[in-house]
């Protein structure tokens, strides 16, 4: 009895044959769902995607700008540092040159001074020598004349006497000088 019932049910109900109302309901329901999805859900999600892309791109742009700014600042600082180094080297060089110049100047000055002193000494010696010579010249004249007078005043024929005269003259002269 069950067997016949089952076969009866099977001939009556074939699950492979679609029911027309179900197809129609299915199409309507899918159409409604499609409209809702196309009108609300897809645009909403796409908007979120677009916003996110924009936000990420904006963030990247911002970061790039910051990076460029930092690079520029770094380059500027490096240039400043190089300038400062250069300046320091220049000053050092200048100082060295100046030092050398001062040293040379001082040496030249000292040499000049020494030369001047030497020259002055030589001049003084020369002047004194000339003065001595001059006074000697005048004195030698008068002395010779005096000596000659004395010799003439005494007798010139006695050698002993004339030598005594000369000795006495020299002694007078020495005593006169002192």
């Amino acid at each position: 009895m069950i067997l016949t019932q089952v076969t009866a049910a099977e001939t009556e109900i074939n699950p492979l044959v679609p029911h027309v109302p179900e197809i129609i309901l299915g199409v309507i329901v899918i159409a409604i769902l499609f409209v809702g999805v196309a009108k609300f859900i897809v645009p909403n999600f796409e908007k979120a995607y677009a916003d996110r892309t924009a936000a990420i791109e904006g963030g990247i742009e911002n970061a790039n700008a910051k990076q460029a700014e930092a690079d520029a600042k770094l380059a500027q600082l490096e240039a400043q540092l190089a300038d400062a180094r250069h300046e320091a080297a220049r000053i050092r060089e200048q100082a060295r040159e100046e030092g050398a110049a001062i040293k040379a100047e001082l040496r030249a000055e000292a040499q000049a001074e020494a030369e001047r002193i030497i020259t002055a000494g030589k001049a003084q010696i020369e002047a004194e020598r000339q003065a001595a010579a001059a006074s000697l010249k005048t004195e030698v004249g008068s002395l010779a004349t005096g000596l000659a007078g004395r010799i003439v005043g005494e007798s010139l024929d006695d050698d002993e006497r004339s030598s005594r005269v000369v000795e006495r003259f020299l002694a007078d002269l020495e005593a006169g000088v002192h």
Partner: protein, 268 residues
């Protein structure tokens, strides 16, 4: 009414063997083909569920998504990127995303009805709904194909394989026409229907049979042992079924995308 009587009768002489009759529930109100059944209500409810969930998930469209939006975007991104864009190509996939998303979510919710307590009926085990889906997919890919290539150009694209010439075309063209134009909607509809039908049948068999063994089998201890084992198997089959429910929704959407991609492809 009839199936209920059959169930009552069967429990006395042996277990009720679930069959195709169990898939056709009596109308809630009225009678006849058009009277609303539980299945019809479930189909309508699925639209409310899908639209409600994804509207709530996408309403804010925040740059940094919350949990709900993240979940919604995950599903949407899967259909949009890994199905539509990867298969149709990045040029004109966007106009098919709404339809593919509709198909995926609609099938997914209707399949998951099969394991949700108290609902426990995969509406896609009625071939009418899978037929409706297959019909729409068939219309869409043929219409966009004809719109792009013209009627003759489209027929040539679908039926003349590239690199084939000469008399072999006499054999190839009808075969290609059959497989690309005629058979596709049937395979689409039957694949989804049959897997859901079989899955539900298996679950019904394990639970009804297990219950009968547990309660009515003569040497009680054997009946209890076998009944518990049947329930255990039933639970394992349920998990398998969950996987298949997802896979079938995915496969239907994927195939729809592939058919569309084939129809809008440039001539080879």
């Amino acid at each position: 009414m009839k199936s209920l009587a059959a169930t009552v009768m069967a429990s006395e002489s042996g277990p009720h063997i679930p069959g195709p009759a169990d898939f056709f529930l009596p109308p809630i109100i009225g009678s006849g083909e058009w009277a609303p059944t539980k299945i019809m209500l479930l189909v309508v409810l699925s639209v409310v569920i899908v639209l409600g969930f994804f509207y709530a998930a996408s309403r804010k469209a925040a740059v940094v998504p919350g949990r709900l939006q993240f979940a919604g975007e995950y599903v949407y991104g899967m259909v949009r990127n890994s199905i539509a864009r990867d298969i149709i190509g990045s040029q004109d996939y966007m106009r098919f995303v709404p339809y593919l998303f509709t198909v995926f979510t609609f099938i997914l919710v209707n399949n998951f009805y099969g394991i949700i307590p108290l609902i426990q009926f995969p509406t896609m085990s009625h071939i009418g709904y899978t037929a409706a889906l297959a019909l729409i997919t068939w219309l869409i890919y043929n219409v966009v194909g004809i719109a792009k290539h013209g009627f003759v150009g489209y027929l040539k694209l679908q039926t003349v394989p590239s690199g084939v010439s000469g008399p072999i075309l006499i054999m190839m063209v009808p075969l290609e026409f059959l497989s690309n134009i005629i058979v596709r909607p049937f395979t689409l509809a039957i694949r989804l229907f049959a897997t859901m039908f079989a899955g539900h049948l298996l679950l019904a068999l394990f639970s009804l049979g297990g219950a009968w063994l547990l309660l009515h089998y003569a040497p009680t201890w054997q009946g209890v042992a076998a009944g518990l084992f049947a329930f255990l198997l039933g639970i394992m089959v349920s998990f398998l079924d969950i996987l298949i429910m997802f896979l079938q929704a995915y496969v239907f959407t994927l195939l729809s995308a592939m058919y569309i991609a084939g129809a809008v492809a440039d001539e080879h």
